[in-house]
Amino acid sequence: MSAPAVHSLWTTTAADSIGTIPSPHIEYGQISPVLIVAGAAMVGVLFEAFVPRKARYYAQVILAVLGLAAAFAAVVALAADGYGSASKAHIAAEGAVAVDGPALFLQGTILLTAVVAIFTFAERRLDPAAGSHRVDSFAAQGAAMPGSDAEKAAVRAGFTTTEVFPLSLFAVAGMLVFPAANDLLTLFVALEVLSLPLYLLCALARRKRLISQEAAVKYFLLGAFSSAFLLFGVALLYGYSGSVTYARIAEVVDGTVQNVDPALAGTMGNDALLLIGAALVIMGLLFKVGAVPFHMWTPDVYQGAPTPVTGFMAAATKVAAFGALLRLLYVVLPGLTWDWRPVMWGVAIITMIGGAIVAITQTDIKRLLAYSSIAHAGFILAGVIAASPNGISSVLFYLAAYSFVTVGAFAVVTLVRDAGGEATHLSKWAGLGRRSPLVAAVFAVFLLAFAGIPLTSGFAGKFAVFKAAAAGGAVPLVIIGVISSAIAAFFYIRVIVLMFFSEPRPDGPTVAVPSPLTMVTIGVGVAVVLVFGIAPQYFLDLAGQAGTFAR
């Protein structure tokens, strides 16, 4: 039973008895990943309520990891059933979500990224233990005022904000839906579901709480602002096409729509609705991916948020948002390619160049990585613009390659600490290579991957994206991308020089020895760098098969 039918059923006001309301047909199996994660999140909330504080941490961690693992298993199962392939991919849950290659691929990526990110959330060895209690990177009590007695008391009592786990699970749930959303309403809801928990997570840093809260405020206000734009865009698109389902809008845009009623005929004629609406929605998504000029929240939020959260955001949010963007552009607006392409060209160019240039003069490692993530967003946009199956799969590959490395890099940042918590100022990193060669070497590997040096994942991804772009005729874009990556190389190398070739400072930071959790996170990052860099074929195939959207 199709959506319009339902509506007509509602609109015909009580003509005949409303005896039989057909229950909507939901393919629970196919959307199980989302359901599992959301369920786990809710159970987590219950844990907060009922599990004794001592056991809470372990319960939450295990729950979260199990939930994510189970969801990933579900994704794999679906992919194994062939939902990834164009033949079997289709729209589930009354047209709300798509179950197709890109969706599954990105969901899988998000879930795995989330797992390694959760590991960093759970890390409790870095901060010196408060009394008898080991502590993680999160505030003892989010509500307690920074520096207040309440906070001290909370610390003494050994409180820990275990809510972060259910929160992150909710966020993950939102992220899973985001790239799969197949109508604008779902898109909007998913956006909010993934954003709101992140706002909170940003505010929960144990050290430097003031800037943590500031980050949260900025992120929240700007995020709300942008989602308002997105929503207005949705409204306009709805006004244009009389529907919010992607397929329907696409038809209207193409003009291949059947049974046009007069109202629709009237709005269809009005391109302004379509164009402005599309522009606003796209803008909302560009905000999430942190493209210039919607990027300005990125450095501040990345710097202020607790580093594990930053890593999680930087990786998972980008993946989800790019997934949504891809689907929007390829499923809803293919008919509009000639309109959005030039605009996206512009955005991609200033994003690549701007991110790279501003990064040159950064002095805080987290802000540096923030700008680098902006530049990377630009590179990925170049792939998005390719507007070809090749482009899709290259973007998928890039996202997979990029996300793990990002989480790993931020995990390394959490290790370098001094009295005031993490020593994020670059000057403190001087001579790190002498103090602890291994950590410095690992971080250098990540930086080289970001810089796109051959034999690292970064290069494979960049090559795939640029190849697709060039094949799509965007040669100037490739050249600009190459130039900006040359600029970018400069500041990555600056950090390496700092770590290896400058003398260590006497008051330099110490490198904390992490628990296996963080080690795993970092290990995964390194592994991805090397595997994707040296033998990427398998993953390229995967991304290649996942390269087609369901309509």
Partner: protein, 99 residues
């Protein structure tokens, strides 16, 4: 009455909200302006819903309200905690991180 007028009103409200976000300093007020923008969207949805003669728009409006409510919960929590920490709700005071 021509539904287009509702649309104009919606855009007007939206713009007012946006302007408010850009102009006002108090975080709460800024946030309220955002809410105003959301409501402008709702108006637009309902108007279009009527125009197209289907219920989707109205349903979406309900969704929006729920989401807005959720945003209020989160937003107020954050703003209040910030206010308690600095005894000011001015967004401009929250500018430790820059450059």
């Amino acid at each position: 009455m021509n539904p287009v007028y509702y649309l104009y009103l919606a855009s007007l409200l939206f713009t007012i909200g946006a302007a408010g976000v850009l102009i006002r300093r108090n975080a709460i007020v800024v946030f309220m302006c955002v809410e105003l923008m959301l409501n402008a969207c709702n108006l637009a949805f309902v108007a279009f819903s009527r125009l197209h003669g289907n219920l989707d728009g109205q349903i979406i409006a309900f969704f929006t309200m729920v989401v807005a409510a959720a945003e209020v919960v989160v937003g107020l929590a954050i703003i209040v905690s910030m206010f308690r920490a600095r005894h000011s709700a001015s967004v401009d005071d929250a500018s430790l991180m820059k450059l």
